[in-house]
């Protein structure tokens, strides 16, 4: 069973306090922010590895992003993936979810035959959950979103989808795409042997020229979405603590509430 996992490198949430938006370009200031594998994508990798352990086959991880996304791919190799591909080109910059899913789809076409395509349910930075569905459409394959359990029998896949207050059981014929939630498994840590051997494995890098793409569908040009403004929300003003004798504090409180037209 050949599985392709799409992973995105995202800023480490533990570093969120240090993440800033450049007000002129409306983009994240990503330099010096540590990158991690999008947490749901780690679940997708884990699920792929478990399926491979049960059914054999190969696990290929793919990421679209800047050169430093190689680190995320190396971690996936260390966890046990067989092959890693980075789709990277300056002409991909500014891609929205439509252009991202198109570019990824063209990369996956180049990989060739696969049985299952696994993604995280959403990226913790972009948060749209659109890349999975977009990708399935570009590749004309069925999709199962928010899968919390997956079983493969022959060429059938049966999955439980997490809904708001229920779950849905669906059955689909392979090849298909699934996006997974964190309930599906607990991702493994890479082993030291995996870590050391991943260092010696090569990460393939494919640019725009390596893929057969319609240039009008990639990067800024292929992105109908326009970001009007991105900004760091102002922290809410600090609360004020009134101290002193209770009757006097109560008077001051009423005064302040009047000032703000709350009373």
């Amino acid at each position: 069973m050949d599985i392709v996992v799409c992973i995105k490198q995202v800023p480490d949430t533990e570093e969120l306090p240090h993440i800033r938006v450049n007000p002129e370009t409306n983009t994240l200031v990503r330099e010096s922010v540590k990158g991690i594998i999008n947490p749901f994508d780690e679940n997708a990798i884990e699920e792929a590895l478990r399926l491979r352990e049960a059914k054999g086959g190969r696990v290929t991880v793919v990421s679209m992003g800047p050169p430093q996304a190689k680190e995320a791919l190396r971690k996936a190799l260390a966890m046990g993936a067989d092959q890693a591909i980075l789709i990277s080109d300056s002409s991909f910059a500014g891609s929205d979810t439509l252009a991202t899913s198109y570019t990824l789809a063209m990369g996956i076409r180049k990989i060739g035959k696969f049985d299952l395509l696994l993604l995280g349910k959403q990226a913790i930075d972009g948060d749209t959950a659109q890349v999975g569905p977009g990708l399935a459409e570009w590749l004309s394959i069925p999709q199962i979103t928010y899968a919390r359990k997956i079983e493969v029998n022959g060429n059938q896949i049966r999955a439980e989808r997490t809904l708001e207050d229920a779950f849905e059981m669906v059955e689909v014929t392979l090849p298909c795409l699934a996006t997974v939630t964190k309930e599906i498994n607990i991702p493994r840590y890479p082993s030291l042997k995996g870590l050391l051997s991943a260092k010696r494995k090569e990460v393939l890098v494919w640019g725009a020229d390596d893929l057969s793409l319609d240039r009008k569908r990639i990067g800024l040009e292929g992105s109908p979405t326009q970001v009007i403004k991105i900004f760091t929300p102002q922290p809410p003003p600090k609360g004020e603590i009134l101290t002193g004798e209770i009757p006097e504090v109560a008077d001051r409180l009423i005064e302040k509430l009047r000032e703000r037209k709350i009373l």
Binding site: R188, Y189, P190, L192, K193, L195, K199
Partner: protein, 380 residues
């Protein structure tokens, strides 16, 4: 002397940090309270290949040396001393096997120990043989291509959870320590069973058990090194093991210091944080200094061991210094916490109970001073 870390070491330590922080540290209190063997932690160590750090590649390990092992053990012990000691006891099995084992023994025992599929233990101590390690009463009788072991070991770390044991027994009691011989014994061998569990003041989840050998027959091929060379095997193993015990103590000291440092900046008395009082500052300064001093003694010992230089004196010094520093630092940490430190609401009282062990095992502080003195007096 150069302790610059390689990229591989840095990468490994980063991963170990993550596992310690997410998996081991949050469970340390619970493990100590319940006294239940932390099998999940051991499984994690195995999955990460950590048991194989020093085992050569051809026997399924990573062949990375003792300094790397030491740096890893420091982090594990800081997060959870119990897990650190389990990790350390395994080394007492892989080390003598690697050094003295036959090709056949290494091929049989090292791969499962390196993968963590089997856990190791080292058994010397007996009721009559503690500091006086030469006074082992367990006997090994030769009988048609076998050795037959009889006797009792006490306090053995990894007790009944281990699978592979290095056991010291006497093949010729008349010769005293010169009759001592080391053997490999596998769990499940007929005549080998477990007795009493020792109930302890700390490290309650660390298995320390009596091993009972009752006409336990093991094949000739399980003789480790040579007949009558068991005392040497034991002393060499302890020499290396002391780096592990020292680093365990250091991990506990580091954890206690870190808790005290943070607490001192939060606790307010007399309208100021207690970290503003010079008396508290001096305690923290001494703690931090001793931690650094212990660290470099132990790193240097491990580095000498890796380079094949005489490391025994440094290992004894590191073990002695780190364990006594840990006792002092954990006691001071309780002091910084005041009354709260004495309660079970904070982990510092646990660290204090844990620290005490390190002044006792693998040669008490008194025995270490004896070893160090005899080594320095021998120097030209």
């Amino acid at each position: 002397m150069d302790f610059t870390l390689s990229d591989d070491q840095r990468m490994i330590l980063e991963l170990v940090d993550e596992v310690c922080e997410k998996e081991f540290a949050p469970k340390a209190d619970e493990i100590s309270e319940s006294g239940e063997f932390p099998s999940q932690n051991v499984k994690k160590l195995a999955e990460l290949d950590l048991f194989g750090i020093t085992v050569p590649r051809e026997y399924g390990g990573l062949g990375m040396g003792y300094l790397t092992w030491t740096l890893i053990a420091e982090k594990i012990s800081k997060a959870c001393a119990t897990t650190g000691l389990i990790f350390g006891a395994n080394l007492l099995c892989t080390y003598p096997l690697g050094k003295y084992g036959t090709e056949e023994q290494k091929r049989k025992f090292l791969p499962p120990l390196a993968s963590g599929q089997s856990l190791g233990a080292f058994a010397l101590t007996e009721p009559e043989a503690g500091s006086d390690a030469g006074n082992v009463q367990t006997t090994a009788r030769k009988e048609d291509g076998h050795f037959v072991l009889s006797g009792t070991k006490i306090f053995i770390t990894n007790g009944e959870v281990a699978d592979i044991y290095v056991v010291i027994a006497n093949i010729d009691k008349k010769s005293g320590a010169r009759g001592l011989t080391a053997f490999m014994v596998e769990k499940g061998t007929q005549g080998f069973s477990f007795g009493q569990h020792f109930s302890k003041m700390g490290l309650t989840a660390l298995p320390n058990v009596e091993l009972i050998f009752n006409d336990c027959r093991i094949p000739d091929s399980n003789l480790l090194f040579k007949e009558r060379r068991g005392f040497k095997v034991a002393m060499r193993t302890f020499a290396a093991g002391r780096i592990g015990v020292g680093i365990g103590a250091l991990g506990v000291a580091e954890a206690a210091f870190e808790k005290a440092r943070v607490y001192s900046r939060e606790r307010v008395q007399f309208g100021r944080t207690i970290s503003s009082f010079q008396a508290v500052q001096h305690m923290l300064a001494d703690m931090a200094t001793k931690i650094e001093a212990a660290r470099y003694l132990l790193y240097r010992a491990a580095w000498y061991l890796d380079r094949g230089e005489a490391f025994e004196k440094l290992a004894s010094m590191g073990k002695l210094y780190a364990s006594e520093a840990a006792m002092e630092i954990t006691t001071k940490a309780v002091q910084v916490f005041g009354g709260y430190g004495y309660t079970k609401d904070y982990p510092v009282e646990r660290y204090m109970r844990e620290a005490k062990l390190f002044e006792i095992i693998e040669g008490t502080s008194e025995i270490q001073r004896g070893i160090i003195a005899s080594l320095v007096l021998k120097e030209k």
